[in-house]
């Protein structure tokens, strides 16, 4: 097999795996957008907050240590224990549900029937609020997150591909695990929303609030549920990204990766988020591989946006959206 093709195949595999993660982040947006019509600006910060909380719990950090020390003149920082990863992940999940309840109680509930732009502004406020609270709770220094996921290049794949093709694929083991976990999560979310009672209720709320109320669905419960799921998705995304590049502010920027995915897949389509994520992931890597060298590289920073823009011109409703024709 020609070498070029093999390199392209390797780039594509890496692209697919990045794509699943993009799809996951995009799914967080889609779920909230469908159920409450809000574009959740805070989605990225939620991932950061989840990762910070996870590290904090695992390392036995005292939350709000700075504040406590400043007020009481104490010098406490750590509880002095270490929490196992599994338990810490579970506890972080609980915190994210708590956050969802908080958001419903103190923000969403008071903004029912307000124009979408108001809700959008509220999520901007929420993003900065959470960023601040995250700093205050856990400190703002860069942290490493080690939940025991395998790291480094997978030698098995390297060897196997070398034996088959005479060229070893370099594939990060963390990427493989992340892909599997993200794929499982995407699949279970899809099944949940299609077949469970709550999933049906969720789709109903997404379609028509009044009608949903009239068949006995509690909007507040659905909102808490959806924001919890989004929090959970943020936790998984934050965990994967955090394990890869450390837990720091830039983690919240993964949300920016989801934007072109949403433009491509449409804001309301679950399959759109999945397929869109994969297209962007693969497209980005292949483009960098083939055109990158000609234009000096670093195309990954902008390629997704350009692709999404070009796409928007031809299909403004997204991949799976229905064409909207204004009634006149």
């Amino acid at each position: 097999m020609p070498e070029q093709l093999l390199w392209a195949a390797e780039a594509m595999m890496n692209g697919l795996m990045a794509g699943v993660l993009y799809a996951l982040v995009a799914l967080g947006f889609v779920l909230i957008f469908k159920a409450s019509g809000v574009f959740n600006y805070a989605q990225g910060v939620m991932a950061l907050f989840a990762a910070l909380t996870l590290v904090g719990i695992m390392d036995g950090q005292v939350p709000f240590a700075h504040l406590i020390n400043a007020v009481f003149g104490t010098e406490i920082h750590h509880f002095g224990w270490h929490v196992p990863a599994i338990l810490a992940i579970f506890l972080t999940g609980v915190v994210m549900v708590g956050l969802a309840i908080f958001i419903e109680r103190f923000v969403l509930r008071h903004l029912v029937n307000q124009p979408d732009i108001i809700l959008f502004m509220a999520t901007i406020g929420l993003a900065y609020f959470m960023e601040g609270v995250g700093d205050l709770m856990w400190g703002s220094e860069i942290k490493t997150l080690d939940v025991g996921l395998p790291q480094g290049i997978s030698e098995t794949i390297d060897e196997a591909t070398y034996n088959w093709f005479g060229y070893g694929f370099f594939i990060d083991r963390l990427d493989i695990v992340a892909t599997i976990i993200a794929a499982l999560l995407v699949a279970s979310l899809t099944i949940f929303s299609q077949y469970s009672k709550q999933g049906r209720a969720l789709r109903a709320v997404a379609d028509d609030h009044q009608a949903a109320l009239s068949v006995g669905i509690s909007l507040r419960f659905i909102w808490v549920l959806v924001w919890s799921i989004a929090g959970f998705v943020a936790l998984v995304a934050g965990m994967m990204w955090g394990a890869k590049s450390g837990v720091q502010f830039s983690l919240s920027l993964i949300a920016l990766k989801a934007l072109p995915v949403l433009m491509l897949g449409g804001f309301t389509s679950i399959p759109g988020a999945i397929v869109g994520g994969l297209i962007i992931g693969v497209g980005e890597k292949l483009f960098e591989f083939s055109i990158g060298p000609l234009v000096g590289g670093a195309t990954e920073n902008w390629f997704a946006y350009v692709l999404a823009l070009v796409f928007l011109v031809f299909r403004p409703q997204g991949l799976f959206g229905e064409k909207i024709i204004e009634r006149v």
Partner: protein, 272 residues
Amino acid sequence: MSAQAEEYVTEDGRKIGGVMMEMKNITLRFGGVVAIKDISFDIREGEIRAIIGPNGAGKSSMLNVISGFYNPQEGDVIFRGKKRPQMRPYKVAQQGIARTFQNIALFEGMSVLDNVMTGRLTHMKTGMFGQAMWWGKAQDEEVYNREKVEEIIDFLEIQAIRKTPVGRLPYGLKKRVELARALAAEPKLLLLDEPMAGMNVEEKEDMSRFILDVNDEFGTTIALIEHDMGVVMDLSDRVVVMDYGKKIGDGTPDEVRSNQEVIDAYLGVAHD
């Protein structure tokens, strides 16, 4: 109370029971607008109760109070002998009160079948975690609910459009699907806000027949708002007449028809 508790059988053999729902001195205001002024009336088990009145009289508002969409500033809602606290609409639905809307509120993106299926939500017991763990039980429940839904689809003669997305249906059929969804909840009390508005004569006849059949076969108590006087007189056991938020008449169709105030306010203007 005692006079109202007596039961009787109608000419066509349907049994009308005691008071199911009692509205007591309801007043509802929107800022300066008084949509309902100190109105009291009741709905009995098994009857078809009509609410009529000119545009803006406050009929829909009354239905919205019953279904929990509006909370009155004054007055009590008494359901099956118990005073109901302020209740949100989804709770009211869970108590067995289903409704349709004057401006149709369906899940436009879902198929007819899925729409009607949402009507069963109040009957689905297995929760999220139950569904994950007791797959078998959850499936039995799903099958049972599906059967119920199919029965209703047959009953309302909408088999042919089961899989059609609701957004594509013509107005008359949408109204029917909305009724199907409400019926799927097997409600004790069914609230219909102008179920025949905007329909042609034939569709109106169908809908009238369905309403009578629902009441007759399932024994469902029905409160409905309707502008077509002929339909109201044919369908209903008793009629409440509203005008400018006030109650100006209450009784059998014949009684209401001969009430001078009603004739002045409504019948005289709108009819013949």
